[in-house]
Symmetry: C2
Subunit: 119 residues, 2 copies
DNA sequence: ACTTTATGGGCAGATATCTGCCTATAATCA
DNA sequence: TGATTATAGGCAGATATCTGCCCATAAAGT
C-alpha cells in the first residue's frame, strides 16, 4: 500500500525480529519455519497462505537486509523433505533489525514512525 | 501387494517407458513431470496424490534402475519454482526398460509374465 | 482537500517432494 | 487348498517454495 521510502512494513519488522532471535541460537531460518513462528507468536490468522511471507522475504533480500542460500540438497534428502532456502541477516540487516527493536521499545505512547531502513 | 522378485509392477513399467521416451529427447525427468505425463497418457484417475509415484521412483532407484540428482538450486530460483530431483536411467535401467518394451510388444495374446528386472 | 498511483496483503492455487496409515491382493508357506 | 505375509497403491496431509489477481490504503501529486 505504497510504502514511505526507507521504512519497513510490520511483516518485515516481524521477520527481522524473528531473525535476531534465531541468530542468537546461531541458526539460519527458512520461510516455512518463520511463517509458523509468526503465525504462533501473533494470534492473527495471518498467513492463511504463505505467499505474503515469501514475498516479504524477497523484498528484504532485494533491500539487502537479508541474504539467502539454498541448503545442500543432500541434507534435505537425508532428512526426507524438500530443500529449503536459508536466510540470514546481512550486516545492514542486523543494524536495521536492532534499530527497529529500539524504535519499537521507545514507541510506547508515541505513534510517530521512525526510519528503520536506509533510503 | 507382494511382488514376485525380479518383476516390475505396472507403475514402474510406465515410469521406465516414459523415461525411454524422454531420453530420446535428451531430457532428464522429475517426479511431478512424470506424474502428469502418466496421468495424461492413461485416462486413469491415477495419482490422486503423488505419493504413490514418488515411492515408485524411490524403489526404482533402490533397484539400481534409476539414478537421481538434485538440480542446481540456482536454476530453480532463476525459474522461480522449487528445486527438482532429476532422474535418469542407469545402464541397467535402460536394459530393463527395453526388455519391458519387448515384453509388452510380444505380449499380445499371452498373459504370461516375463522377468524384466534382474533378481 | 482531492485525485492519482504505487504496492502490500489476502485469497486462491500451482509447483514440487515426501510421509503415515490402511487395505487389497499376490506370492509364499503349511 | 487354505492360512500367512509382504507390499503396492489409495487416501490424507505435511513440508516447502512461489505466482497471479484483486483490493485496500497510504504516499505522493495537483
Amino acid at each position: 500500500m505504497r510504502r514511505k521510502p526507507g521504512t519497513l512494513v510490520p511483516l518485515e519488522e516481524w521477520i527481522l525480529s524473528a531473525a535476531i532471535e534465531l541468530r542468537r541460537r546461531r541458526e539460519d531460518f527458512h520461510g516455512y519455519q518463520i511463517a509458523k513462528h509468526i503465525a504462533d507468536a501473533s494470534d492473527r490468522k495471518l498467513l492463511t497462505a504463505y505467499g505474503t511471507l515469501y514475498r516479504a522475504l524477497g523484498r528484504l533480500e532485494a533491500m539487502g537486509l537479508l541474504r539467502s542460500r539454498w541448503e545442500d540438497p543432500q541434507r534435505a534428502a537425508d532428512e526426507r523433505r524438500p530443500p529449503r532456502r536459508l536466510y540470514s541477516l546481512t550486516d545492514e540487516g542486523l543494524d536495521t533489525a536492532r534499530a527497529t527493536r529500539r524504535a519499537r521499545a521507545s514507541a510506547h505512547a508515541r505513534t510517530g514512525k521512525r526510519r528503520v531502513a536506509p533510503a
